[in-house]
């Protein structure tokens, strides 16, 4: 964009380098803490003998619920992603291709938008009461349902952007060649929006994995997810800093893995709606 020469150029690199350090620094520092014994953390020492104690305590010890928490998170995130993708893709396809009454479509989309904007905590009260009544309170099923609801609007909007990108003519050509609507959707449109499916899937999974406010209030000790567990480390009377650091690092791993695989699609998905 700009042509930078001489000092301005160095200044630009300096700013960018600082930015990268500020982003990575905290992460590395906390990773460092997670290899220290509690005493070394509290002394703030920089020279210490690294230990796996915090990780083994969090992941393997008998008094730790963390493996259960990880399992709960995996189950909730996978199931909710799966259902969100199905429902979101079908809804997006139908809104983008079928001729809905304008009024219905606009109300629906407007509603999803509003729902996406209000703090999830405003709905937690009624959810809490409803789930108590139907027996879903403190169950994983309840949390999966809540997460599907939370992340459906985002998925619908994203998938709609992808479906709108595909020229209608491709599908029409397929119909002329003898595909029925379902066939055309399954064989033509769906493969073309695969990047969108990946992006929406990754985001839905990560958001569900990260989601805290709802999980905090709708789960019990046995069904708590990873963020709830981390919060518990921090809220205990005596904060276990080492374990907290280790759990935080562990909780970031899925996001990091998904990032390496799906980065291109995620960035595209995140910015797609915005640029248009």
């Amino acid at each position: 964009m700009l042509v930078l020469r001489g000092p301005a150029r160095w200044l630009a690199y300096l700013v960018l380098a600082t930015g990268i350090v500020i982003i990575i620094g905290p992460f590395l520092w906390v990773a460092l803490q997670s290899f220290k014994y509690e005493i070394a953390i509290l002394q703030g020492s920089w020279i210490f003998t690294p230990t796996w104690f915090n990780y083994s305590d969090v992941l393997y010890s008998h008094r730790s619920d963390f493996p259960t928490n990880v399992w709960n998170s995996v189950v909730v995130a996978s199931l909710s992603t799966f259902f969100v993708l199905i429902a979101g893709t079908l809804a997006a396809y139908s809104l983008s291709r079928l001729r809905w009454n304008r009024w219905i479509a606009r109300t629906f989309l407007g509603w999803t938008l509003i729902f996406n904007m209000i703090p999830p905590l405003t709905l937690i009260g009624p959810w809490y009461l409803i789930f108590r009544e139907v027996g879903l309170y403190e169950t994983l099923t309840g949390l999966v349902l809540a997460h599907i609801t939370l992340h459906l609007p985002m998925t619908i909007w994203m998938m709609m952007a992808y479906f709108n990108e595909i020229p209608k003519e491709i599908e029409e050509a397929a119909r002329v060649d003898g595909c029925d609507r379902l066939d055309a959707f399954w064989r033509i449109s769906l493969p073309l929006v695969t990047p969108g499916l990946i992006a929406a899937g990754v985001l839905a999974f990560v958001f569900s994995w990260n989601e805290f406010a709802v999980a905090l209030n709708l789960t019990s000790r046995a069904t708590a997810t990873v963020p709830v567990a981390i919060a518990r480390f921090a809220q205990q009377y005596e904060v276990q800093y080492g374990q907290m650091a280790a759990a935080s690092i562990v909780s970031t791993i899925p996001a990091l893995i998904l990032m390496f695989f799906g980065q291109r699609f995620v960035v595209q998905g995140l910015t797609m709606g915005a640029v248009k």
């Binding site: 964009m1 700009l2 042509v3 930078l4 301005a8 630009a12 690199y13 700013v15 960018l16 930015g19 982003i23 905290p26 520092w29 906390v30 953390i41 703030g44 429902a87 938008l113 509003i114 729902f115 996406n116 904007m117 209000i118 703090p119 999830p120 905590l121 405003t122 709905l123 937690i124 009260g125 009624p126 809490y128 009461l129 409803i130 349902l145 809540a146 459906l152 609007p153 990560v206 990260n210 805290f212 406010a213 209030n217 963020p227 981390i230 919060a231 921090a234 800093y241 907290m244 759990a247 909780s251 970031t252 996001a255 990091l256 998904l258 980065q263 960035v267 910015t271 709606g273 915005a274």
Partner: protein, 274 residues
């Protein structure tokens, strides 16, 4: 359908709840119709007013800083030819991290005795700073965490927009003798108004929803200095067990959000985005 079931029904439920007092006895809910008290509570709720104000300060300051930093970074990265991929990879990390993990990370770093920030400050010969424990600093500290968390997101949106700008226009302006500063303020920023509006809207929405990090870092304290709307709602519902009043509070927040969306859309279309 599920979406409607799990959103519309709760809202109807909210309206029902908002005019009631709900007590629990032997695991059974007991609803009493008391429309007056809840509204009275709302008018009397000083903490709600404080939390609204804190949320507003938080949102405005954090989002403003994020937009400025994000825009600066976006233009700089677009201007240097190297490291684009690396920078993008690094910057996406905070977006995908669990907000709770971010909260606990910063809780460690902010620690009065052994946090890395105070280590740096004391090694420079200055007094350690009580980041989260002082009423005047706590909100500011929470804002720093939010800026760390969300500037990369703003950057991604704005960077995509910068890369999409028509190169010819900028070349033409440069040939006409425009200097860098003029390019930025007279050409690039005006052309990016739609993307800026989108980033702004996105971020303000998310900033108003803030809960996780604040819950972890300060739980609203010290005193009420970092009490935000979501946190207050959580406390009313689950610490004070005032389901009815919480429902009314929820409705007030939803109404405020819708009003805000409407105003925001007006403003956005005024500057030329959608």
């Amino acid at each position: 359908m599920l979406l409607l079931l799990l959103t519309v029904y709760p809202i109807l439920n909210l309206i029902g709840m908002s005019v009631s007092t709900i007590g629990f006895q032997a695991a059974k809910e007991i609803w009493t119709f008391t429309p007056g008290t809840n509204f009275h509570d709302l008018l009397d709720d000083d903490i709600f007013r404080i939390s609204l104000w804190n949320t507003l300060v938080f949102a405005v300051v954090a989002v403003a800083v994020e937009i400025i930093l994000g825009l600066t970074l976006a233009i700089l990265v677009a201007s240097v030819s190297r490291f684009k991929g690396l920078i993008r990879t690094v910057l996406i990390v905070p977006i995908l991290m669990p907000p709770v993990a971010i909260g606990s990370m910063w809780k460690l770093m902010y620690s009065l005795d052994f946090g890395v920030l105070n280590q740096i400050i004391t090694s420079l010969g200055l007094q350690p700073v009580n980041w989260l424990g002082s009423t005047s600093l706590a909100l500011f500290s929470v804002i720093i965490v939010d800026v760390w968390h969300w500037t990369p997101f703003v950057f991604l949106i704005l960077f995509a927009a910068v890369e999409g700008l028509p190169k010819e226009v900028i070349e033409a302006a440069r040939i006409d003798g425009a200097r860098n500063r003029e390019l930025v303020f007279k050409i690039i920023i005006p052309l990016m108004k739609p993307a800026l509006a989108v980033a702004l809207l996105f971020r303000i929405i998310l900033a108003f929803k803030v809960f996780d990090e604040v819950f972890l870092l300060t739980s609203g304290g010290p005193g009420t200095s970092t009490e935000v709307v979501s946190l207050h709602l959580y406390k009313v519902f689950f610490e004070q067990n005032q389901m009815g009043y919480g429902a009314l509070l929820s409705l007030a927040i939803i109404a405020a959000t819708i009003a805000f969306l409407w105003v925001g859309q007006r403003a956005a279309s005024a500057v030329g985005a959608r």
